[in-house]
């Protein structure tokens, strides 16, 4: 369902052109729990931005759900992000002025769904990640692990084809990080959700069904 072919990305920094991605080929199948692992600076963040449609490749083909999305315009990319991709970030990135449930609702609001529905659906997802009793709390009133659970509910609320998690346990201690990984496993096993986890931690990568190892702009394994 996710096919990358010869994806290249280069940035111009001053007079020199820096190649960050040097021809990435990657296939991710529906229902897989995949990790992309590599040391920092290997280009995995750039790859994640491209998979997440936040950035465009310099060249190469990129298919998501059978549709080529490499060169869609900005509004179309926003629409695809909204419907097909759920993001989980290392720093959670919840909006501090909104309550947990309002944060979870956001993707549905940008989709233009009715308020009654968005509330109900968001509550359902909060229940799924075990945060139903904290629906009205602000992010600042929640622990890191709880915030990440809310963020996962937000990623799931729009029923995307793909969850893209960038170092999701990076800001958490081992125990809580383990719980978050457990939640990803459960979601993958029980609901068949496709999840891609980007990490530098071999321990995390080992827990995933398949591992793509990246080094210096290419996938080496």
């Amino acid at each position: 369902m996710l096919i990358l072919r010869d994806i290249r990305k280069s940035y111009r920094i001053g007079p020199t052109e820096v190649d960050v991605l040097k021809g990435v080929d990657l296939d991710i199948h529906k229902g897989e729990l995949t990790s992309i692992m590599g040391p920092s600076g290997c280009g995995k963040s750039t790859l994640m931005n491209i998979i997440g449609l936040l950035d465009r490749p310099t060249s190469g083909r990129f298919q998501l759900d059978g549709a080529d999305v490499s060169y869609s315009n900005d509004d179309a990319l926003s629409e695809i992000r909204n419907r097909r991709i759920g993001f989980v970030f290392q720093q959670y990135f919840l909006l501090s002025r909104l309550s947990a449930i309002e944060n979870v609702e956001l993707p549905l609001i940008y989709r233009g769904d009715r308020q009654g529905f968005t509330r109900e659906r968001s509550m359902e997802l909060l229940r799924r990640v075990g945060m139903a009793d904290r629906a009205g709390h602000r992010p600042s009133e929640l622990s890191g692990g709880q915030q990440q659970r809310v963020a996962i509910a937000r990623a799931l609320v729009g029923a995307p084809s793909l969850i893209l998690a960038d170092e999701p346990t990076g800001a958490l201690d081992t125990k809580v990080g383990g719980e978050i990984m457990e939640l990803f496993h459960t979601l993958n096993r029980e609901d068949g959700i496709t999840i891609v986890i980007i990490t530098h931690d071999p321990g995390i990568a080992r827990q995933c069904g398949s591992v793509a190892v990246m080094n210096d702009g290419v996938i080496v394994k």
Partner: protein, 403 residues
């Protein structure tokens, strides 16, 4: 749904930086306030001049003695130039354009009742024709007639009557007022009327004596007859009548300089006064609207910079550029509308104050309020568009990485 959420978000965001919000609003408040004041003062003056016409008619001229025209001899002139009662009485005969005349003498000295001073009341010497020409009526008793010449009778204005009652007069008619060494018996009370441009005295705060009485009692330093109100005969234009009056007083037998004003002139003068306010308020208004708009823009630019990460998150979650632009635009419009609301209140207050000091009757103009809402809305959109566009054009990755 997006709109409702955006409204809520905008309110939250503005509330979270109250101080900045309030500072940005000051310019808008002053700007909108001035525009509102400008429009409603215009409206007030328009209504006021209409009322003047209705109240006094257009066929009334006010003739006033010219006092010293700044040349050295003026002091001497005003002494010699006393208008004689006989000349005034002869006016309708001499000037065919004059139907009726009512001369006025301002008395000096303080009136007292029961040993207590009537501070506000001034003494006026008038004739029988006074009441009709000034479109006044009697509410109690009767007015002075020319049979009351040299008598010690007086008529009081409605406010004076109220003062007397406050000082213990049971019924105003028949009570006695002391002025200087003389005692006057009240024979009537005038009904309350507006003090307007054509009535060059305080109709409700005066004590009316017969002109002859007033002239005899007044001291040497008195100016004699200072004001004559005249009704122009039907079929004569105000200009013709005015020329006749000027010629009459300029004739060698009298040799007096007078100033004649008509209702048109008074209204023109009022409008000139209004134009000054309009110009002043218009200038203040447009400058402060620009300053206020720039303030709004500044606040919004700061807000966009502070919320780059938020913008990045929203973009990652699927917000389109238009959604981000709309969110910030709504925020700046709400900010401006809030300023507009306070501006409207401020403007109403200001026009009320202007009306009070210019002795115009205050009225609230619905059009002005609508204008205030419209203009503040426009300021919000105009000055909010640039920051909102900046926000929408942020690269999601750059925005997400910022802190």
């Amino acid at each position: 749904m997006i709109l409702a959420t955006n409204l809520k978000e905008a309110a939250r965001s503005l509330l979270s930086s109250k101080q900045r919000t309030i500072l940005a609003l000051i310019g808008i408040v002053i700007g909108i306030g001035s525009v509102i004041a400008m429009v409603s003062v215009g409206k007030i003056v328009q209504e006021e001049s209409l009322r003047q016409f209705k109240e006094m008619g257009t066929d009334i001229l006010t003739i006033e003695k010219e006092f010293g025209d700044s040349s050295g001899q003026s002091g001497k002139k005003s002494k010699t130039a006393q208008i004689k009662l006989a000349d005034v009485v002869a006016m309708p005969g001499a000037c065919p354009g004059m139907a009726d005349v009512a001369p006025l003498v301002r008395g000096n000295g303080q009136a007292a009742y029961n040993g207590k001073k009537l501070d506000q009341a001034s003494l006026l010497g008038v004739t029988e024709s006074f009441l009709a020409i000034n479109k006044m009526t009697i509410s109690q008793g009767r007015f002075l007639t020319d049979m009351d010449a040299q008598s010690r009778y007086c008529v009081v204005g409605s406010k004076v009557a109220k003062d007397l009652q406050r000082l213990g007069a049971r019924q105003v008619i028949g009570e006695q007022i002391r002025a200087g060494d003389n005692i006057f018996t009240i024979i009537g009370v005038t009904a309350e009327v507006l003090e307007s441009g054509m009535r060059r005295f305080q109709p409700n705060e005066s004590i009316y004596l017969h002109l002859t009485t007033a002239l005899r009692l007044s001291s040497e330093s008195s100016n004699g007859i200072t004001t004559i109100t005249a009704r122009v005969s039907a079929g004569t234009s105000n200009t013709t009548a005015r020329d006749q009056v000027l010629a009459y007083f300029a004739a060698p037998a009298r040799g007096q300089a007078v100033r004649v004003s008509s209702p048109e002139e008074i209204i023109a003068q009022m409008e000139k006064q209004m134009q000054m306010f309009t110009l002043l308020l218009g200038a203040i208004g447009s400058i402060s609207l620009i300053v206020g708009g720039v303030g709004v823009m500044n606040v919004m630019l700061v807000s966009v910079t502070e919320r780059r990460r938020e913008i990045g998150i929203r973009r990652a979650l699927g917000a389109k550029r238009g959604d981000i632009r709309g969110q910030f635009l709504i925020e700046s419009v709400i900010l401006s509308l809030l300023g507009g609301l306070f501006g409207i209140l401020f403007g109403i207050g200001a026009s009320r104050l202007i009306a009070h000091f210019a002795h115009w009757q205050f009225l609230l103009s619905g059009g002005a309020i609508l204008l205030g809402v419209g203009v503040s809305n426009a300021v919000g959109i105009f000055f909010g568009y640039y920051p909102a566009r900046q926000a929408s054009l942020l690269d999601p990755i750059v925005a997400l990485k910022s802190d």
